[in-house]
């Protein structure tokens, strides 16, 4: 019933949301069908073209500093970037929602304690914290996902907490309390179903943030060398001084893909937000 309720609101998203949705589905399509779409297998380092070659018939987007076909690299890169984006988002949404629900619903000292911890993660600049933690743990796909997921839940926690506190003041919660409903009953039937649409919209925004963050970490050299993400491609480009080679085919496409991914999720998340709280809509 919750999902059905959420989808009925999606039908009304404005055109920005539709554009975002189309891009998002396209990206997921690329990621899933990467092996069929990519002309070459980037992980197989035997059949390599010339080094730093511009786009030509055999390599639509040219080759990198060791001759791998960039077009295939980018297609496979979609896989890792989206994988990391979604998994980090789900970890941080899971933690954020629980922290937000607990501190919003119970309040009192629990709220104070959880809020101080949330403040900590909001005050501390995110990138250095993630960089150093990944560096200490050792750069691997699993570590990156774990670290990002565990360190960026603060924003979600705050939003969910505010929503939970406003729901707690609603009269239908008072009505349930006057009926002697248990905390579990109230949260299950009244708080969660009304918070889920916001969680859904926020998840989409957090996926965008995770993709953005992952690409930055990989660029700064802390990506998992065994898996290729768009950030990793740009790292190799930077390290191999592609700028001096004027290798636009090496530098531009990965960045464009990152932007498209982040944009598509932000647009979708933004459209849900516009539907969920009408204040953004033009004055009726």
């Amino acid at each position: 019933m919750i999902i059905e309720g959420a989808f009925s609101t999606i039908k009304q998203i404005n055109k920005m949301g539709m554009v975002g949705m189309v891009m998002l589905l396209a990206l997921i399509g690329i990621a899933v069908f990467a092996p069929f779409l990519a002309p070459y297998d980037p992980y197989d380092l035997t059949d390599l073209g010339e080094i730093m070659q511009g786009p030509d018939a055999r390599h639509w987007l040219g080759t990198d500093e060791i001759g791998r076909d960039l077009f295939s690299l980018i297609i496979y890169g979609a896989r890792i970037s989206l994988l990391i984006g979604f998994s980090c988002a789900f970890i941080s949404i899971f933690i954020g929602t629980i922290v937000g629900l607990l501190s919003g619903y119970f309040g009192g000292w629990l709220d104070d304690v959880l809020m101080r911890i949330t403040d900590l993660f909001i005050v501390i600049p995110r990138l250095p914290l993630v960089l150093i933690t990944v560096a200490v743990l050792g750069p691997s796909l699993f570590n990156t996902i774990l670290v990002i997921g565990v360190l960026i839940w603060a924003g979600t926690a705050r939003i969910i907490r505010v929503q939970t506190m406003s729901l707690k003041k609603r009269q239908f919660v008072d009505r349930a309390r006057s009926l002697g409903a248990s905390h579990f009953h109230i949260v299950r039937r009244h708080i969660l179903p009304n918070v889920m649409p916001l969680v859904f919209a926020n998840t989409v925004l957090v996926v965008a943030t995770s993709i953005y963050l992952e690409s930055t970490i990989s660029f700064l050299g802390l990506g998992d060398p065994t898996h290729i993400s768009w950030g990793m491609i740009l790292h190799y480009a930077f390290v191999s001084l592609a700028m001096t080679f004027e290798a636009y085919w090496y530098l531009v496409p990965p960045g464009v893909m990152i932007i498209l991914a982040v944009l598509s999720f932000t647009m979708c998340g933004y459209a849900f937000d516009e539907v969920l709280n009408p204040r953004l809509r033009r004055r009726q």
Binding site: D119, V123, P125, L137, F219, L222, I258
Partner: protein, 320 residues
């Protein structure tokens, strides 16, 4: 009297957060089996005397709690350990690099706030029309652009316009400090523009949403009914109310700004704290990393506190 109470409370919370930062910083480098400090002993690169200095400095033989106590004492004394690579006290390196980062960050922040807010205002005033859609999409596009990539792009296409690396032309001598400042200015242009363009998107979106909210309020209807001109309605009534949420969110964004600085400084080799972190990451120079992280977090904390207290002075409704 009341605002004093608010003042004391906010300071109290910040001190608590500071203590948490210190604790996090301490444990960050002693986590899990791959404890970097112990790893060092098996690393041939590190000279013997650094190892002894390390043993003394971190009191590695003592229990975790003793190390923690020692660590806190050191930090209090401003003693952040010595860098493996430069073999000089971390605090010295950081002091010099921090100045460079502030020189870069301050104008970038001001620039992005000014441009962002004006873009946001235009979008809000033209709410629903194409101008709004363009501003909104542009801001979202900029906000979704990785800072480092924009830097690479500038390097690729605008290579020869402005210097692309370092803070000053190497080896040049300048007759007046003004000439030197101009030279730094030219070197700073590219990284600053890159950073503020991306941050601009965030401020535009925040200002647009906040202003749209305010424009639908009733006191705006009253302001119109009082026969005020559109500009007076905007500047005397709408903006003062719309600016408040922008300030709070701007304070919260300081963390992201520093993240952006790390990327810009890395790409443009600007000798700030950001570049220092990048280099330390590559060479796994943990004392520098630990010190840099501490300094960055404390600066962000102070900036947040100041923004919070400034907000109290402006918004009369806050009485705690």
């Amino acid at each position: 009297m009341k605002s004093k109470n608010y003042f004391v409370k906010r300071i109290g919370y910040s001190l608590l957060t500071l203590w948490m930062i210190l604790t996090l910083n301490f444990f960050l480098f002693r986590m899990l089996p791959g404890d970097p400090i112990r790893l060092l002993f098996s690393d041939p690169r590190v000279p013997i005397e650094t190892l002894d200095k390390l043993k003394a400095q971190y009191g590695l033989d003592g229990s975790l709690l003793q190390q923690y106590g020692l660590y806190l004492a050191n930090v209090a004394k401003g003693e952040l350990g010595t860098s493996f690579v430069y073999n000089t006290p971390v605090s010295e390196i950081l002091a010099e690099r921090l100045v460079n980062t502030v020189i870069l960050l301050l104008p970038a922040t001001i620039l992005s706030i000014l441009m962002g807010c004006s873009l946001g205002i235009i979008a809000a005033l033209k709410n629903g029309r194409t101008a709004d859609f363009i501003c909104l999409s542009l801001s979202q596009l900029l906000w979704a652009t990785p800072v480092f990539w924009l830097g690479l792009l500038f390097m690729l296409f605008a290579g020869n316009l402005l210097p692309l690396a370092g803070m000053e032309t190497a080896g040049a001598s300048f007759d007046s400090w003004w000439a030197r400042a101009m030279d730094i200015g030219r070197h700073m242009a590219m990284p600053m523009i890159t950073l503020s363009l991306v941050m601009l998107g965030q401020y535009a979106i925040i200002m647009r949403n906040s202003l749209i909210d305010v424009l639908t309020e009733d006191y705006m209807l009253v302001a119109k009914a009082k026969g005020f001109s559109r500009t007076r309605q905007l500047f005397s009534h709408a903006l003062p109310n719309a600016a408040l949420p922008v300030m709070t969110l701007a304070a919260m964004n300081l963390g992201l700004l520093i993240g952006g600085a790390i990327q810009t400084e890395t790409v443009f080799t600007w000798p700030g704290v950001g570049r220092l972190v990048f280099d330390a990451l590559i060479s796994r120079d943990y004392p520098v990393l630990q010190g840099a992280f501490l300094v960055i977090s404390v600066c962000a904390l102070i900036a947040n506190l100041m923004a919070d207290l400034l907000y109290k002075q402006i918004d009369p409704r806050l009485e705690l």
